[in-house]
């Protein structure tokens, strides 16, 4: 099953929800309407032909320069039967990064969503237990956003001039 077939079948069903699509390194990327993510994912999981029944990964990305599309949530699906992968992207505004949770579809999405919340502050609606997972609960920012520094401010044995990075 080629990527064209997959795209065709998806767009037959959800043509209005698909915003853009392309293919990189053999994997189909589809940008979807962030409000319809559960619907599409559910259909993909249950469709007897596509059978994208395995959630590989959920990732967040921060694009500070693109207005109203700052935060991207990326779902990577895998159909073992067809041995094909699919990437769904939903772009959210940084002011209100809210998207529906898919924990009811995949239990495994629970921590992935919590991690995305922890790193990027994406609010997953209807998530059973949305709170920080890796960082301390008292942390007051979302560290993976580009504006936050990586370094721990308490390190004293370092002089930035020497490292060729600024």
């Amino acid at each position: 099953m080629t990527n064209e077939d997959i795209y065709k079948r998806i767009s037959d069903h959800f043509s209005s929800y698909i915003i853009a699509s392309d293919e990189t390194f053999g994997i189909l990327n589809i940008e979807i309407n962030p409000n319809k993510n559960t619907e599409i994912l559910q259909w993909l999981k249950e469709d007897s032909i596509l059978q994208f029944s395995f959630l590989t990964n959920i990732a967040g990305i921060h694009y500070p320069d693109s207005t109203e599309r700052e935060i991207a949530v990326v779902y990577q699906l895998h159909s073992w039967r067809n041995n094909s992968r699919l990437r769904l992207k939903a772009y959210l505004s940084i002011d209100n990064p809210t998207i529906d949770s898919i924990v009811h579809l995949y239990n495994g999405a629970n921590w992935m969503e919590r991690e995305t919340f922890d790193f990027f502050g994406v609010n997953f609606k209807n998530h059973p237990d949305l709170r920080r997972i890796l960082n301390e609960d008292s942390m007051d920012y979302f560290p993976m956003r580009k504006e936050h520094p990586l370094e721990d401010a308490t390190r004293e044995d370092k002089d930035d001039r020497f490292f060729g990075r600024f």
Binding site: W80, D157, K158, F162, F163, G164, R165
Partner: protein
Amino acid sequence: MESLTNRKKVVSNKPMTFIEKLYLPAIFSGMFITLKHMFKKKKTIKYPEETRVFAPVYRGQHVLKRDEQGRENCTACGLCAVACPAEAITMVANERKKGEEHLYREEKYAETYEINMLRCIFCGLCEEACPKEAIFLTDRIVPTEFERGEFIYGKDILVESIEERIDISKRQNTGKRGVV
């Protein structure tokens, strides 16, 4: 779920036989194995007295090499510092003055060169980054210390002494190796 590949083999469905249910055979065979090991040669290397042979390419304590004439190779280009993922190397470059040609090979040299051995992860990237064959990792291990400050290794420790050269010829990263 049906097979995704045709290479599947179930490995854990062997039922227990009656004899195995009696506990004893496995226990006795296990005890026999341990008894056998009791009389085997011990594998232990009594470390402080005996040392294990390290691979010649082992990534241990760094050395700043001198060339055949005893001049320091380092030219303080800073590539090692850039290549260091732990940001453990700092140096201050200085121009070589007249009359110091016997000390430094290049026109620039590192006035101070410090590696924070506590930060260092011994990944060997500095060794690879060095274009002047100045810094090498060696198969010596970094000793432990009582205070954190003692791990800032300056040039006094890092630069090899002229009398006691450190042999790094077996490291394949040197320029002298044969390329396949």
